[in-house]
């Protein structure tokens, strides 16, 4: 059995998941056979979220064997309950601008000097595209007052995650779509708006402390 996250213990968890643990916080668990890949585990977490259950998800790209430690100490459980209160009724909307990095100049050249120059040109083009993507997303979410992550650029994308009430999704999507009508699309950049996801970017490791006398 592996752990996928925590939620209030009183919830009925959808199949094939089970709830483990005693106390106010339950561990959402599953057989590894039912979710061998990271995508499978994220999909199961999504099932929990879609059932209307608020949860604190563990990172899906790792396997967390079910262990007594995951049942949480009183202090850690209290921290999880605080987090559950903060994200109550909320999910994560992800807005990502993506581009195809293979369309950037390819640093192939006959000599080392030419290769360095080509690499420099590629980096310049990459920086310009990243800045255009950041600008685009900043404009799309301008004036939206919800908790959000900083813009997170990677090699070929730039994303921001917004924490919003499940009921507010329709209004927010309308607003973003309306804004998009008045923005000129930069060349080669596509924008996807996906969600609601479980609040993956708005949770942290449960905090607990212990002091050992010298």
């Amino acid at each position: 059995m592996i752990a996928l996250g925590w939620c209030h213990a009183e919830h009925d968890i959808p199949d094939p998941l089970t709830m483990v643990g005693s106390g106010p916080v339950g561990v959402i668990s599953a057989h590894l056979n039912s979710c061998p890949t990271a995508r499978d585990r994220l999909r199961l977490l999504q099932t929990v979220f879609d059932a209307g259950i608020d949860c604190i998800p563990l990172a899906a790209d790792r396997i967390w064997p079910l262990s007594p430690a995951l049942a949480l100490s009183t202090e850690a459980a209290s921290d999880v309950l605080d987090q559950l209160a903060q994200i109550e009724g909320s999910g994560q909307l992800t807005i990502a601008a993506q581009w195809n990095s293979t369309t950037l100049p390819n640093p192939k050249a006959a000599s080392g000097r030419e290769w360095l120059l080509a690499l420099s040109a590629r980096n310049t083009a990459q920086d310009a595209r990243t800045k255009a993507a950041e600008q685009l997303i900043s404009t799309l979410i301008a004036g939206i007052v919800v908790p959000k992550t900083v813009l997170m650029p990677t090699g070929d994308s730039c994303a921001v995650h917004l924490l919003l009430d499940r009921k507010a999704l329709g209004d927010l999507l309308s607003r973003v779509m309306k804004t998009a009508q008045f923005i000129t699309a930069p060349d080669g950049i596509t924008v996807s708006v996906t969600g609601l996801w479980p609040p993956l970017n708005f949770v942290h490791s449960p905090r607990c402390t212990a002091e050992f006398p010298a």
């Binding site: 879609d50 604190i56 563990l58 899906a60 064997p65 262990s67 779509m177 008045f182 996906t194």
Partner: protein
């Protein structure tokens, strides 16, 4: 030309084989809680050593079993 938004629910994203959506899911996989252990060793209220670890919780039998397979 106006920005064209690709709207998708998680169910649609999981069912899609479009590169942009597959990449998007891949980007979400490493988010969520990662258990960490942080240890401060202090004497007389003076912090001397800090150790930070990503924690893998597993039974010793499981760890040994995994090691044998590799």
């Amino acid at each position: 030309m106006a920005v064209e938004l690709q709207l998708a629910t998680p169910r649609e994203v999981f069912g899609s084989n479009q590169t942009t959506l597959v990449d998007l899911v891949d980007g979400l996989l490493h988010h969520g809680v990662v258990l960490r252990a942080e240890l401060w060793l202090a004497v007389a209220d003076i912090d001397l050593v800090f150790i930070g670890l990503d924690v893998l919780l597993s039974s010793p039998q499981k760890m040994r079993g995994d090691r044998k397979r590799h």
